[in-house]
């Protein structure tokens, strides 16, 4: 079962069971704190996975990401890992866009590209997903939501 284990790394199962930054505080579109807010709702029509992600942007920097959703362990872990990454790195919009592009490229690489742990943190564990073309959408869901949310913020 080595292929399967490469997909479901311990780290992925951990994040999916203990999702980070989960839950949307009820602040609507008018943030109590500084910055502008963008919210994105994404859905995978095949399996019904859904994610709502909210990004708060202060100037050019993404200050905060929250999300809520349901779905398979890959989609939930990916959202959790992404939220962690943003929280830790204090990314600018431009950096986030580059990061998302790189993530998309790696996931579409059919197993030929690895995500760098230095850059992607825990999310680098999602590299194995790229060998499972049917699951790429699951892993991408949160990242597409972030892309959309910061565009709106």
């Amino acid at each position: 079962m080595s292929e399967l284990d490469a997909l479901y790394r311990e780290l992925i199962l951990d994040h999916s069971k203990h999702p980070q930054h989960f839950g949307l505080t009820d602040e609507g579109d008018a943030p109590a704190v500084a910055g502008t807010i963008g919210t994105s709702h994404q859905k995978n029509p095949v399996c019904g996975d859904e994610i709502t992600l909210r990004a708060r942007v202060e100037g050019e920097t993404i200050a905060d990401v929250q999300w809520e959703g349901r779905g398979c362990s890959i989609s939930q872990a990916s959202a959790s890992m992404l939220a962690d990454l943003v929280a830790e790195e204090g990314l600018t919009r431009a950096e986030a866009v580059t990061l998302i592009e790189g993530f998309r490229e790696a996931l579409r690489s059919r197993g030929t590209l690895e995500l760098d742990e230095e850059v992607y943190g825990d999310a680098a564990a999602l590299s194995g997903v790229s060998k499972f073309s049917a699951r790429v959408k699951c892993a991408m869901l949160a990242w597409v939501a972030l892309e959309d949310a910061i565009a709106k913020a």
């Binding site: 479901y8 199962l13 399996c47 019904g48 699951r135």
Partner: protein, 423 residues
């Protein structure tokens, strides 16, 4: 209103299938997937195809291919004969006459044809009612939503009980004076239960409503005699019944087909055409605009001959046995919840289930790693899943080539899912 309890075929009337011999006709079943022999339990999505089907199409294309109904030359005449023989064969498979069988590209197309044609005929007016059920495949739901929206009609749904059976008392009160159409599936592609369709047809007939049956999940699994059943219109898909992609059938009672106007228009369905208007041929040609899927139709004829050769009663008995075996094995696994667990009902070889704490997608991935192909998701029946409080499920579905070994591997593997994911 209750229907007689379904009597599963008795052992005496049927011959046990030689599944190994049957499987040998399907080369793909010998494939290795992730280091294991493929256990293909996704036949409800699309069936595998026996060599005779592939050969029939190839023979046609390499020896007799030509446009049908359109040429005087020898090949065209040969192609036309093969094509019309295929129509007669597929019609006979559901008990019908050739002129009662309209070729379509699949069941979705057949249901859209019916919905649009009824709409074009002006048979549905504002305030009229269309009745369907809460367990339909989207293909037998959204076309009626759209017809209702286009005409101002109201769409109503026969509810399902917790055990997966249709609430026939509710059906009896829903189907009334204003009902123009009653559309229902013979067998749900999620629950596997054979619905009391004769009772639904009787209710519809009392009020003069047109009946439309989705036979996708019954045609490959049980003997069908559509004229005897009395349904007005019924559809099925070639690719789900051992046939090629790109072809399906619409059966219609003769007076009903004759009363409907065309849906698609174009060549080969007309008598006279001027720049400003056209006159149309009688059924079935009226509904067959343009070049028909000739190769696939000839392949489908070979498929139903294959099914008939094995015998639909034998197939049904085999698959009923597999359904029971699956049920017996799955029901006791902790955290497994079977959808539509009604007792004493007639079934095809199909079960959908929820795995507590593990998303269907993950469960399916785990099974795939063991070479077991199942389907995960809402199986194009989202409202049904909502009804049962889940967004997705795992579905294992059998066909005549499915062995008890396939089923046993499934059961063993399902027992390993929750432990693997640590729940």
């Amino acid at each position: 209103m209750t229907s007689a309890p379904a009597s599963p075929p008795t052992a005496a009337a049927v011959t046990a299938l030689d599944v190994a011999a049957i499987a040998a006709d399907f080369p793909i079943l010998a494939e290795q997937v992730n280091g294991h022999r493929l256990a293909y339990l996704d036949s409800a999505a699309t069936s595998q195809k026996p060599l005779v089907v592939l050969d029939a199409e190839r023979d046609f294309l390499t020896h007799a291919n030509a446009a049908v109904h359109r040429g005087a030359h020898t090949l065209a005449a040969e192609a036309t004969e093969l094509f019309e023989d295929a129509r007669a064969t597929v019609a006979a498979f559901v008990g019908a006459q050739p002129e009662q069988l309209v070729w379509t590209s699949g069941a979705t197309m057949g249901l859209n044809l019916v919905a649009y044609s009824i709409g074009n005929a002006g048979l549905v007016r504002p305030g009229d009612e269309i009745v369907t059920t809460a367990i339909e495949h989207h293909a037998n739901l959204i076309p009626w939503q759209e017809l209702a929206a286009r005409t101002g009609a109201v769409l109503r749904h026969i509810p399902a009980r917790d055990d997966g059976t249709l609430d026939m008392d509710a059906a009896a009160s829903l189907i009334g004076e204003r009902t123009r159409i009653v559309a229902f599936t013979h067998v749900s592609n999620v629950l596997g239960i054979v619905n009391p369709v004769a009772d639904l047809i009787a209710l519809a007939q009392q009020v003069g409503a047109i009946t439309v049956m989705d036979a996708c999940q019954s045609a490959p699994h049980l003997p069908l005699d559509l004229p005897a059943l009395g349904v007005d219109l019924a559809v099925f898909s070639g690719h789900k019944m051992l046939g090629p992609y790109g072809v399906g059938g619409l059966y219609g009672r003769t007076p009903v087909l004759e009363s409907l106007p065309p849906f698609l228009t174009g060549g080969s369905m007309i008598t006279t055409v001027t720049l400003d208007r056209a006159e149309y041929l009688p059924p079935p040609q009226r509904f067959e605009a343009g070049t028909q899927p000739v190769g696939p139709a000839i392949g489908l004829a070979a498929a139903v001959r294959y099914l008939d050769g094995v015998g639909l009663s034998n197939i049904h008995a085999h698959e009923s046995m597999l359904a029971e075996r699956m049920h017996a094995g799955l029901v006791d696994i902790p955290g497994i919840r079977l959808l539509g667990d009604a007792e004493g009902v007639e079934r095809v070889g199909l079960w959908s289930f929820d795995v507590d704490g593990v998303h269907a997608h993950d469960a399916g991935q785990y099974l795939d790693a063991l070479g077991i192909a199942v389907r995960v998701g809402h199986h194009c029946a989202a409202p049904l899943h909502t009804r049962y409080g889940v967004t997705a499920s795992v579905r294992a579905s059998a066909a005549l080539y499915t062995s008890t070994d396939d089923v046993d591997r499934l059961i063993d593997a399902v027992a390993g899912i929750r432990p693997y994911f640590g729940v």
